[in-house]
């Protein structure tokens, strides 16, 4: 990657502003923020009594769970591809 320039992107998640620093493009950060916002609203609609910090923790649990699942599929696919190339 040649693009290691740091960007500062302001996003709105669940009614609160966050300044995100990173090498990702502002459009990528805005996409991530909107997915987190959507997921928080989805979990909140199913559990209206949750406070914001619990809601955010459960959103993080959800996202890490999705990450582990796809990482597992990715690893299996990579093994399969290596076998195909043999």
């Amino acid at each position: 990657m040649s693009n290691t320039q740091k960007h500062k992107t302001t996003v709105d998640i669940y009614g609160q502003q966050y300044v995100i620093m990173g090498t990702e493009s502002p459009s990528h950060i805005r996409l991530v923020a909107s997915l987190v916002d959507d997921k928080m609203r989805e979990i909140s609609s199913k559990n209206p009594s949750l406070d914001v910090s619990k809601l955010a923790v459960l959103t993080a649990v959800n996202a890490v769970n999705d990450y582990i699942k796809i990482k597992d599929q990715f690893d299996r696919l990579q093994t399969e591809l290596l076998k195909e190339k043999d």
Copy 2:
């Protein structure tokens, strides 16, 4: 999948207990919870002034970002595998 039994797992994340319901095994849920806990502590150590809800939102942002990246790699690998099989 034949195992669609629902489990109820109690986990501790950043000093707070959560009851997680789902078809995943309790050991998988505990792994996910410990990863979220680790990430929250890592972000907190770099940003000691953040309150818990902002910390949790940034942890969710982090996890969703990781998810999108690996999903993108997964999709590319899948395309590559399909070409190999042709």
